[in-house]
Amino acid sequence: MPSLLMEILLVASLLLLGALTLFNRHLVRACTWFVLFALTVSFSWWWMGFPWLASIELLLGAVLTGAFLFHALGVGPTAKRPSGLLAGWHDHPPPRGRALMRLLPALAMLAMLGLALEDLAEGRASVALWSCGMGLLGLGLWAFALHRHLIRRLLGFNVIGTGIFLILVSLADETERAAAHGLIITGLVVAMLGTALGALLIRRLEALEAQHGRQHAAGGHAI
């Protein structure tokens, strides 16, 4: 019973944190929410009995990825105000119609997954886990399609990744756990590296554009 309660709590908090990460208007805050989100994920791994995963998630997901995100924003321990150009740049929230349109891919993806999992999920333990994963996946995809802001897209990517990891774990048996963990670890490393590369790139881009005096141009690049 407590495990079920805990499960529901975790799922709810993960979804909530994910949504906050993705849709918070304030970028620095969104990044902060992301760190919290990663911590929660790490906790979930630990709680499910995967301490290795939990520690790696803690290190790569929460600490390093968070650090790189803040680096991209230009927020550091010394400078409280974000100095990155991107931090000051906001997506204009799209009109509602378009926002709903952008939801379509996410829904399609979820539908596909639902179709696939229909006959598979029965008898497997953690329905909550994969539904949480699917929720995160949907949210992430929507955000990714909706936003054009680079950092937000990086965030979206990380959230989607987490969703997929959750689904993966939910589907894997005891016997397949090793393979699943291999995949997840690889994925985590890739996500971290990707974020790191993205963050470094953003900084470099800013430096270049500051050099050339093309303010705001970076945001103008459709990415």
Binding site: E176, T186, G187, H212
Partner: protein
């Protein structure tokens, strides 16, 4: 079909010697890359001397399999990894090594001559190059999804890293887009793997062949895998990231990327289809439709492109369409058709790899020599840079698919297969592709033959750069006549079913 892929079900644990050969093929490039990063060669010849080593390792590996395909398992903790060595893998490895070696030979002089290549970034070039070689080799050799995923991710990140090396704003923006899309693509790939793992509990391809049963789950999994891979392979509607990336990248990297990197994704996708859904012809036809669209759209865009490198990048999109035709011709067709299409597809892959690499190198020489990147500014090039233009032209012959080039032989096989399968529509696609590619390629020559051009400043490039491009181009031309040789390699180690 499984036999062609070398995926025999009786996997044997790898012996020490075999393991060493495998390690040599995978590890040597990485080692040499690190070495290169430390030494930063300024001339081509040390690279040439050292670059032979991976080839030797490859030869050793070839001796290990001694004429038939093998699948080895290598235990890694609780996991056991599956490796497949057969004719196809060897052919791909050879292609990889050849193009890599050419790029590596070209690079020192290029980096020295191109003033815009900062020294600090040059240091990154060599290790990344080694890493790319390793990841590619991994993909060719991997026989389970975990290894494939690992290789794919590694290759994707390294490719982005290489693309970003010039450090110019355009390159960065394009590279960022590439990075994000590649990451999303690999997520889709991962999701597909997750489904497969969940359903059948195993990731080795040979095992999956036996275990997988058609049904919504398999379909969704393969659809997700394919979508992710097609995004990485720059297949038609998902190709948008490709051209800007190439326009800004360093020449040898463009050559590698167009020649090998996107092919790896295609390779995995085709392999998965053949393993998991070898009978779903209608879906393969849909891919064929994408292929047709790719051929036409890529061709049109290349034709209208104003810059030389853009043109080449778009031509990659178009040529990838030819490769995607392998899907309808290989999936769900009978074995005689498949036999021809099989050879045609891989030959096309090799042909495009070599020819495109040669074209990029030659184009790089032209751009470097004129200092201009627009087609129009090539006026009079035929008089001033005959060698670069000649290399470009010879490679273009293969690209267009005119005899006696490799591209022609591949197209010949594909046409044969299409006719044998009664799929006439692909004839039209190949024909349109040929005409479009001729149209865009000959634009270059048209401009280069202009005689009354103003005499611009230009600096001749060192001969070694021209030589590398020329050798690659000649290879793409002459291997068409002796195509039986690569094809026999393809058949040799277990390709024949």
């Amino acid at each position: 079909m499984i036999e062609r892929l070398g995926l025999v079900s009786n996997a044997l644990p790898a012996q020490a010697e075999e393991l060493a050969a495998l390690g040599g093929v995978l590890g040597l490039p990485l080692l040499l890359g690190l070495l290169g990063g430390l030494a930063r060669p300024a001339r081509g010849w040390p690279v040439a001397v050292v670059g032979v080593l991976p080839l030797l390792a490859l030869g050793w590996l070839f001796l290990q399999v001694a004429g038939e395909g093998r699948v080895w398992t290598v235990p890694l903790g609780p996991l056991s990894l599956y490796w497949r060595v057969n004719g196809l893998a060897l052919l791909m490895l050879l292609l990889t090594q050849a193009i890599l070696l050419a790029s590596a030979l070209y690079a020192p002089t290029y980096l020295r001559v191109d003033v815009q290549a900062p020294a600090r970034r040059q240091a990154w070039f060599w290790p990344l190059l080694g890493l790319l070689a390793t990841s590619l080799s991994l993909i060719w050799l991997a026989a389970d999804l975990l290894l494939l995923y690992f290789g794919l991710e590694l290759m994707g990140l390294v490719a982005v890293g290489l693309m970003l090396l010039p450090g110019k704003a355009d390159a960065l923006v394009a590279g960022l887009r590439y990075l994000l899309l590649a990451l999303i693509g690999s997520l889709a790939f991962l999701l597909g793997i997750a489904l497969l793992l969940g359903a059948w509990g195993r990731l080795d391809l040979a095992g999956l062949t036996e275990a997988a049963e058609p049904g919504p789950l398999l379909w969704v999994a393969v659809a997700l895998l394919s979508a992710g891979l097609l995004l990485k392979a720059a297949a038609f509607p998902l190709h948008a990231w490709l051209a800007p990336v190439h326009a800004a990248a360093w020449t040898p990297i463009s050559a590698l990327h167009a020649g090998l990197v996107i092919k790896a994704s295609f390779f995995i996708a085709l392999q998965l289809w053949l393993v998991l859904t070898p009978r779903s012809a209608p879906a393969a036809w849909l891919v064929g439709g994408l292929a047709a669209a790719a051929v036409v759209w890529g061709g049109v865009m290349a034709w209208r492109a104003a810059k030389l490198k853009d043109m080449l990048a778009w031509s990659t999109v178009s040529q990838l369409g030819y490769l995607l035709l392998g899907f309808p011709l290989l999936v769900g067709t009978d074995s005689t058709v498949a036999a021809v299409a099989w050879e045609g597809t891989w030959l096309q892959l090799a042909a495009h790899g070599i020819a495109k690499a040669a074209m990029f190198l030659a184009a790089g020489n032209l751009v470097l020599a004129t200092g201009k990147s627009h087609l129009r500014e090539l006026a009079g090039a035929s008089r001033r840079f005959p060698l670069a233009l000649l290399s470009f032209g010879i490679a273009a012959i293969s690209l267009v698919g005119l005899p006696p080039s490799m591209g022609f032989t591949a197209k010949w096989l594909l046409l044969n297969a299409a006719l044998m399968a009664g799929q006439w529509i692909w004839l039209a696609v190949l024909a349109a592709g040929t005409l479009l590619s001729a149209a865009y390629v000959f634009r270059v020559f048209r401009y280069s033959f202009v005689e009354d051009a103003p005499s611009l400043d230009f600096r001749p490039v060192p001969w070694s750069m021209d030589a590398v491009a020329l050798v690659l181009a000649l290879a793409s031309l002459l291997l068409g006549l002796v195509a039986e040789w690569p094809l026999s390699l393809l058949r040799a180690a277990g390709g024949e079913s």
